[in-house]
């Protein structure tokens, strides 16, 4: 058998020095030898590879995987077949993520800023000095009597067990996130309708009709990968998919039918479909009668104005198609599912768009059914399943405008989703003064609407953010604006209790564990917080009386029962996956409440209540004399009408009758005939901000021209590759509303002329156009930047083979559309209306 072993022998320097087996600590010298890594490959060593189960975190789908390790180096990954969501499969991002570990521009040492903030001048310090600096700052802030001036801001934070503990311990409620940039309308719509979960789980394997409103689950949707696997199986068995999306995503492109509606009209289409289903009498009368909180008559009355003709006018689609698809969908019930994502929810009217789509499932009776719109089979990773280590700090009892803006009354109603696209504006205005800003796994200058302008100006301004400590793996867009950088562990070097919505509808969880030792001064941010907590001393340190995050996680898992003669911890270290011994959770609302659950309960209007701290809490409902769990809504029914929404709207002076009506956002309703709508999207090989430095992923997608429909391009005389200037305007309703065509910004970008987009829509992807993060995301061959936290080693790929470098005639690294996408929170929930941006374009000379 021929391989490259001989070649390896002659070129690799002293491989023997590395062969000390298992997990080794890479000192600078052995790390230097990692430069010969290009000479060792999986292909050469597969027979003797060490396999360690862990969990991917290159996106938030958290797939179980097995790291393939040799001599302290991760050479590759493969899916963990025990993971019930993914059955041993992984996406491109999972494989591409391996390169993060030995990335030449990875941060290896803590850095203290020495120049002006944002000048990029740094001094290397020790981790202990860095922790002391943070502890002193926080201690001072606590002692000043304003602990809420310590702000924690995370993006993809999967260690909130320790970050929340830290913030509770120091007494600050200001924990910021990115949920309103991601999914808050979608989640809110699910809370309102089914009251149960933050994410539906289409029972895709058994679904025979997929009615998709703006989800790109074959590429990007969180949890999309497990759904993609089941969709392909269903499709092979004859399932049909219809996708409504303004752009031909891979999901739209693989659908049996792609229909491109005018942006934000998804709700009108869904309501018209509901209208048709009711009108033609193909609804599930029993489900509506038994489980919905409005009667058939009330529903018909509500839907009366939403005819297919109405939807055709709003969407530009054919009324006959809307009617036909509605009836096809209903004919597949209950094995059919109507579902959503950013295409439907990232609008000012996104909440009702999503409620209208979810309602379709109720009307045809597919809620919770086999092959239908299932939910609620996931394991909670919180305190109930995995108790926190004692003593637990008390929850902070007050809130501030930063994490709980009262003008968005549904943002924090069910879970603390927050309205984080507003925070930099609020910080700049000193609405809530900040002393210490801690950032973790977040890249706001890259990913925030107006990030390159508003977020950067707040981050640069020492008068509004006096101290910024950033934990990151690479020298990122965020790290550049810090005063102190803590080099984080990659997800290959740390622990986390993980899990997502269970696609098998059986609770499961997975354990991330280190597969190689940490290198240089890098430290898991969870461990940094523990050490900082200990250094703060006083009352704070009592909550950090353990040595490490590993000890903390081990403590949380101590309540797991034994399996196969192993403790829960040992079992998880060995297999990486735990699946509960339970049946599939179909129709969870029909579960009978046990006598134990019913103890001390009482019934009012058929709703079963318990008294908790003097407050009535609904726990179920009586159906034909049986106590059932019902939906976790106030009525314990599927809520089409929502009193919660009506009340919330009243609080901020809005008229709302509680039904999911369709109202086109003002900007889109009044759009001029020569204006277009700018939308944004994600690729299958990238996440928003964390994958661009990974060479094998950026090699596939590194450029993001603006998609323009062929007919539209012809009108403007634009051909493929031509430069186009885009001018965007402030929305006409909501935040900073303006009727006067107030310009947000202008951007020049080259055009991709395509049949695959609505003629009134243009699209620029996110994830690209970075300023920092190394040579790969910047598309620059040559020597690496001189940051004193990098190793001295390098690799030919980065020096010479970045073929998309413009200087080699390549396409370059793309643009960041966020410099011209306005901050635009939707009413009530505060979800960023990514896909509502009105703009004009003109062709410019190259």
């Amino acid at each position: 058998m021929m391989n490259r072993r001989e070649f390896v022998k002659t070129t690799a320097v002293s491989m023997a020095a590395l062969k000390i087996g298992g997990m080794i600590s890479l000192s600078s010298d052995t790390y230097a030898s990692a430069a010969v890594r290009e000479r060792i490959s999986l292909a050469d060593t597969i027979e003797s590879i060490e396999q360690i189960p862990t969990v991917c975190l290159n996106c938030s789908t958290v797939c179980g995987m097995i790291a393939l390790v040799k001599e302290g180096l991760v050479l590759g990954v493969t899916g963990n077949p025990l993971d019930p969501n993914t059955n041993g499969k992984l996406c491109a991002k999972a494989h591409g993520g391996v390169s993060a570990i030995n990335y030449p521009e990875r941060l290896l040492y803590p850095l203290k800023r020495v120049g002006k903030r944002g000048d990029g001048l740094w001094q290397r310090i020790t981790m202990d000095e860095a922790h002391q600096m943070v502890a002193d700052r926080i201690k001072q802030t606590i002692e000043s009597g304003y602990p809420e001036r310590v702000v924690f801001h995370a993006g993809r934070n999967r260690i909130d067990d320790i970050t929340n503990r830290f913030m509770d311990a120091i007494g600050s409620p200001v924990v910021l996130n990115h949920r309103a940039l991601c999914s808050s309308n979608k989640r809110a719509a699910n809370y309102i309708s089914i009251g149960d979960t933050d994410w539906e789980t289409v029972d895709a394997e058994y679904c025979s009709y997929f009615l998709n409103f703006g989800a790109n689950f074959l590429e990007a949707h969180q949890g999309g990968f497990p759904m993609a696997r089941r969709f392909v199986k269903a499709k092979a068995n004859g399932a049909k998919m219809v996708t409504f999306d303004t752009r031909l995503s891979n999901t739209a492109g693989k659908s049996d039918e792609w229909l491109a509606p005018f942006p934000s009209s998804e709700g009108a289409i869904a309501l018209a479909m509901a209208h048709t289903i009711m009108d033609k009498g193909v609804y599930d009368e029993a489900f509506i009668r038994e489980w919905c909180n409005v009667s058939v008559e009330e529903l018909k009355l509500f839907l009366a104005p939403y005819t297919p003709k109405f939807a055709a006018e709003a969407s530009g689609l054919d009324a006959n198609d809307i009617e036909r698809i509605a009836l096809e969908f209903a004919s597949h019930a209950p094995a059919c599912a109507a579902f959503t994502n950013r295409g439907s929810q990232a609008h000012q009217n996104g909440l009702n768009n999503d409620r209208a789509v979810i309602m379709l499932n109720a009307i045809v009776g597919s809620i919770g059914r086999k092959g239908g719109y299932a939910f609620g089979g996931s394991k909670s990773l919180g305190n109930a399943s995995f108790p926190m280590v004692q003593p637990i700090p008390p929850k902070v009892k007050f809130s501030t405008d930063l994490e709980d803006p009262k003008e968005y009354p549904l943002a924090n109603k069910w879970q603390k989703m927050k309205v984080s696209e507003l925070v930099f504006e609020k910080i700049k205005n000193k609405t809530q003064p900040v002393e210490v800003y801690m950032s973790y796994t977040i890249s706001a200058p890259q990913t925030w609407p107006e990030g390159p302008t508003v977020a950067v100006s707040a981050l640069k301004d020492e008068s509004v953010i006096p101290f910024h400590v950033c934990s990151d793996v690479v020298y990122s867009e965020m790290a550049h604006y810090a005063d102190l950088i803590l080099p984080d562990a990659t997800y290959f070097e740390r622990h986390t209790i993980e899990g997502r919505n269970a696609n098998e509808l059986i609770p499961y969880f997975v354990l991330r564990q280190p597969v190689v030792a940490l290198t240089h001064d890098c430290l898991n941010f969870g461990d940094s917080l523990i050490r900082i907590g200990q250094k703060i001393g006083g009352k704070v340190s009592q909550y950090f009386a353990f040595d490490s995050y590993e000890v903390f996680i081990k403590g949380r898992l101590s309540s797991l029962p034994e399996r196969e003669g192993l403790s829960g911890w040992e079992y998880m270290k060995k297999y990486g996956v735990w699946v509960d011994d339970k049946a599939k959770n179909y129709e969870p609302y029909r579960k009978k409440l046990s006598l134990q659950e019913l103890e001390n309960s009482f019934v009012e209007n058929e709703i079963i209540y318990l008294l908790k701290n003097g407050k009535k809490e609904a726990i179920g409902r009586m159906v034909n004399g049986t106590a059932l769990r019902g939906f976790k809504t106030p009525s314990r029914k599927f809520e089409i009408y929502s009193g919660d929404v009506q009340d919330a709207a009243r609080k901020i002076g809005l008229e709302d009758d509680g039904f999911p009506h369709f109202v086109m956002p003002k900007s889109l309703k009044e759009i001029a005939s020569d204006e277009l709508v700018l939308t944004t999207f994600k690729w299958n090989v990238h996440t928003q901000a964390r994958t661009a430095p990974q060479k094998y992923l950026s090699e596939i997608v590194h450029d993001n021209p603006v998609w323009i429909n062929t007919q539209t391009a012809r009108k403007y005389g634009i051909k493929n590759g031509d430069m186009v200037e885009i001018t965007t305007y402030r929305p006409q309703s909501g935040f900073k509303a303006s009727d006067k065509k107030m310009v947000v910004g202008r951007m020049s970008v080259h055009a991709f002329v395509t049949q695959g987009i609505h003629p009134r829509v243009i699209a620029i992807s996110n994830s690209l156009g970075m300023n920092f993060g190394g040579r790969i995301p910047r598309a620059k061959n040559g020597k690496k930047q001189n940051i004193p936290a990098f190793s001295t080693e390098d690799h030919d790929d980065f020096k010479r083979y970045v073929w998309w470098d413009k200087r080699l005639g390549g396409a370059g690294n793309g643009v960041n559309p966020n410099s011209i996408i306005p901050i635009n929170p939707s009413p009530l929930v505060g979800m960023q209306a990514w896909n509502d941006t009105v703009c004009s374009i003109r062709k410019i000379k190259a």
């Binding site: 031909l248 991709f752 790929d797």
Partner: protein, 206 residues
């Protein structure tokens, strides 16, 4: 055990209908072999067809087709390319990196590694097959679009055909429902071009 000791005749079958264009196979492949940037044993090509609003996107995972009587094998000046167990493979100890094989291939499924100066191409992950594992691409494929089977199982795939770019091609790797127009993206005598990833190449040239 050496590959040649096994009597098995391997075949790869790719069901394009199942492929969702996720690129996992090619990234797993590059990771498996630590392939340099700009060079590919396998790629997933994209193609948009139709006119708005009736538009479709098709995908084609393409790699060495393990041709019978392979042109690259005949072109090799060093007898470094051999055909065993249904796999056309490069003997890295014999290869001198002359590149004659590249000129011979009608789709460009072989390249010379710029660092090692040795020709590289898909070998169905022979190193994995010989220890009973699946190739890296098949192992990770979320839609089970890629399968390695034995020649004797071929009858299950009556609709699978070789993807040809020249009349004389004799591919043993078979595709189900591949669109022949994709051949526009491949050039005889030139390794797979990274430019195939550029979005401007997605549309059909008319």
């Amino acid at each position: 055990m050496k590959m040649s000791d096994i009597a098995k005749q391997y075949r790869m079958v790719i069901d394009v209908e199942r492929c969702i264009g996720c690129h996992a196979c090619e990234v797993a492949c590059k990771q498996e072999f630590e392939a340099p940037l700009g060079f590919f044993r396998t790629m997933t090509l994209y193609m948009d067809t139709g006119n708005y609003p009736k538009v479709k996107r098709e995908f084609l995972p393409i790699m060495c087709r393990q041709c019978e009587d392979a042109a690259c094998l005949h072109a090799c000046t060093q007898k470094a390319i051999v055909d065993r167990n249904g796999i056309v493979m490069v003997d890295s100890e014999r290869c001198n990196g002359c590149g004659e094989c590249i000129k011979a291939c009608s789709i460009g499924a072989i390249y010379v590694n710029p660092i090692s100066r040795i020709a590289e191409k898909c070998n169905l992950c022979a190193h994995r097959l010989e220890i009973g594992m699946k190739p890296a691409c098949e192992e990770t494929c979320v839609s089970d679009a890629i399968q390695i089977i034995e020649e004797k199982e071929l009858k299950r795939f009556a609709n699978a055909k070789g993807f040809k770019n020249a009349a004389t091609d004799k591919p043993r790797t078979l595709h189900i429902n591949a669109n022949g127009i994709m051949a526009q993206k491949l050039r005889k005598g030139h390794p797979f071009s990274p430019m195939n990833y550029e979005i401007f190449t997605w549309a059909v040239r008319s």
